[in-house]
Symmetry: D2
């Protein structure tokens, strides 16, 4: 029986496009989910092998829903990541002309990324919010209260639409990064070019907490690649930090840093160690290589034993 992967749908989303670029999708059944929450719950319930959801894009920043859904609830693990360029098109039903367009539907984030083009080309248009860019395309039928959708051009084939304009995003270098999430137990060993993602919950009213966290990483020679404070939803000013860093949970320096964070934080959620999508590789200093940790262990044991 084939494997099943959920993704943030509906069909034609950038998430689907990203999933199609991953080796895991080959021969697998790909199932659109109505929300990040639903995609992750499908993994938790075991109805799918894994789920691909967006985590960060180059224009809007992190995707709060994904960070929050991962940090709360039953533990899941990120096992892979992928990033794809985000290119928007203006999609219409066959035959529609620019001059016919009075209303356009899209997701607010996509709207924010196409403001300049809209201002120059459809200055009078009214923009309707949609739950996703693909949803705007999916619902563009005769009864729709709008005449065009801003979304991935890949959605055109799914919904029998035409691409009236391509590359209408204000920022040609826009990218979105996605993560593949599974239940614990399916991660792969260190490849030498890995990233780890954690959520760090602070004790209350601790002004130096962030400095302490960074020191735990720095003292083990670990580079951070992303950090965000996020509210814990309890009260204004009560935060947790979502952090990506270089290295793999099976490496000694990462293990010791994780233990240090566990000791100083109210809670640490481990969200996974997985190969970097870009294959980048920051050399590990000799003082924090696994071999240095092993040697230090032996040295300390020797001292303690001779006592």
């Amino acid at each position: 029986m084939s494997e099943k992967y959920a993704y943030l749908g509906p069909r034609g989303t950038f998430t689907e496009a990203a999933l199609l670029e991953m080796p895991q999708s080959i021969g697998a059944e790909l199932i659109p989910a109505g929300s990040v929450h639903q995609a992750l719950e499908a993994v938790r319930l075991g109805s799918v092998t894994g789920a691909l959801v967006p985590i960060e894009n180059s224009v809007e920043g992190s995707v709060p829903t994904t960070l929050d859904e991962l940090s709360h609830g039953q533990a899941l693990e990120i096992v892979a990541e992928v990033a794809i360029p985000v290119s928007f098109g203006l999609l219409v039903r066959p035959g529609t002309q620019m001059s016919d367009i009075k209303r356009v539907a899209t997701h607010p984030h996509a709207h924010a990324q196409c403001l300049e083009w809209l201002h120059a080309n459809l200055p009078e248009v009214h923009v309707l919010p949609a739950m996703s860019t693909a949803a705007a395309a999916a619902e563009l039928d005769d009864d729709a209260p709008y005449q065009a959708a801003i979304c991935s051009t890949a959605a055109a084939a799914h919904y029998n639409l035409e691409i009236l304009a391509d590359n209408i995003g204000d920022n040609e270098a826009a990218w979105t990064r996605f993560i593949l999430v599974r239940t614990p137990g399916h991660a792969i060993p260190s490849t030498g070019s890995d990233k780890t993602t954690v959520s760090l919950f602070m004790h209350e009213d601790h002004p130096g907490a962030l400095m302490e966290i960074l020191t735990e990483f720095a003292v083990r020679g670990i580079n951070l690649t992303r950090i965000e404070s996020r509210p814990t939803k309890k009260q204004l000013g009560d935060y947790f930090f979502s952090v990506d860093f270089e290295g793999h949970i099976d490496e000694e320096r990462v293990g010791e840093a994780m233990k240090g964070l566990h000791r100083i934080c109210a809670d640490v959620k481990f969200l996974g160690s997985y190969p970097r999508h870009d294959g980048k590789f920051s050399p590990v200093k000799s003082a924090v290589k696994d071999s240095a940790f092993v040697e230090a262990d032996e040295w300390l044991s020797g001292i303690r034993k001779r006592r």
Copy 2:
């Protein structure tokens, strides 16, 4: 002639409710703006005295649009902040019953905060996205494709709606914080309970940058109250930090820290020093009080002069 203040509209938004709590609104003309961008542009163009926009809420975190609009473009300054509890109601046209409701419209953020109530009370309902909670109320007329709006109960009076249910948010302690923005030249002096907001743009590929930034604050005894990494919109992994900290630009320790940041960052945007909405006051250590800086200046001058 009376002063004019823009706010993120339409009428009936939480932003309007927050503005009405500020002394600046007394006797002033309050003008709803269609977006944060439009509200801030009105300030830049001089058509209004100032603008109130949301900056952070306890559930969704910071408001990316506001952070980005402030960090780019002609300089503006935050001159005040206010925070109000966020309480959602289900608003309908007079006579509508719960059983009549098939579709509900609201802003996606509000939707995210009322999931439990909706699941328990309207499990079958279909939720439509709106550009704001107040917009969902404003457009709830006979032709609307939905029968109810989730928004501030204050919107009921504006749009002749009825409150069918109140306090339907999942988190009773939810708050949103707003900032009042003006052109430079209108800030008030230090009150002893102030906050300062800056945007710090990093030089590329600098793994220890955040540690260096925090050290600039720590060495002058300055506490951070919020920090967020935000993409610069150029490429994935290229960040700036949005930071709130305790203290006022006119204080010596803040001035020296700002200069230190200016030296190590690619760019520092000063977004304002303003009184804290909660009047909280963290005692300043004697080593970083203004008097200590003045004394150190005199001491160093003495040493340099005697040479």
Copy 3:
């Protein structure tokens, strides 16, 4: 057969007085050594159980010879420390009057501590250097080229001398601290009020090395009680650090810090964990208690196993 302890002699030194205050001296044979080097070599050769030598005094600072002798050569361990007040007397052969004294002998360190008294009471006196204060007393016979010795008043009984003046030190609060040294294998377990002494050898030309060292301690909540840079005798500007800190090698936070130092230093010499002479006790923060380390180990093992 009784135990034997060497001490920095000759008889009548402050070191002997300190040794007599230690429980280890009860019933043991106490053997004066001609130098710190000889005392420690006697331990290395097994001809004595242990040796007591001075490590630090409140006026002159650390005793370089002791630090160096411990850091180089076959490993020894500090198993106890003791501190005694240092009080100097002017000792003479019976019958000698103040007016008879033209020349006084003492160790240069003792000379430095009695300058004011000498200036006020023997302004014309010529001071001769001796290898130790006790040696000045021991050699004060008819043939000696001096008429008085500055040394511990305890030396009077040993050498049949009279105390012509007592408490002649300029600083009444002067103390000297001594360490009891044995071969490895004789230390006692953690008492909850312990100190550890190490020598840390740096890699060359590493300007941030001291900061890194301090961070290794700070991140495990360890307080330093003494730090000194000492030349390695190789070239000017080539240092090692002699460090005392709170805690015991058997404690988790100390073990992890030691391993961290081992990874970043060219060499780490462990010189012993031993009870503090003053019984002082700095509370250990809960995040760095042994229980916190054990819990973090189990937590990490759980995460790694479930993968």
Copy 4:
């Protein structure tokens, strides 16, 4: 009238040899002083232009007396430094043979540096302490209770002695560094290769004090070249730090660091900024160059003025 310089005497010391290498000695009257204290007091009293005293040697470390004399009492400033190789010889009265030598006199520090040679060549010899190596030579007359002196070979000419053996030190690379001290007001401007020396007195019972000090330097990109804890002579465990660092008091980064230290320390003694003896030059990072400080000042002024 010629200038006068005091040096740590008597004639024939390494200090005199070092002074003769300095341009300041040309045409000046050189006056031996009986102690570091006397040399510095002569400067304070104005009876000499300046004084040269030893500060550090590669075998024994810093010279405590010099550090202490500079840190206490009327302010003096270091205006130059010089370092020379230290090479010991065995000096005797003409005609003395090795077999005649029963007793040798020298300073204890010199003794410590010639142990191996003595062991190999004069294994039976008894070593007498002298107040200085040159004093041992100066007092080597017919009545002396010893037959040889270990000291600089330069002393032979002064005291009509013969060099029986040269280069008898165990460490051929031994160096001593000396400082030229004057009253304030005679220092030279920054040369681009300067060092600054300070004494930093701590507030009591402050475990993180050293870390704070190092951070004040690090945040302004300043490298330390020497650090020592020294007792304040008040009670055991009460320290000050003697620190050398790269840079000149007239440079902005040094000025700001000095002010930061002044704010956090109980006291800061500035002992001088002077050209490095070795002319070494660590490149200053662009973020802490004077120009960066000036630019940051202007930037902050602009922000404060527009308010």
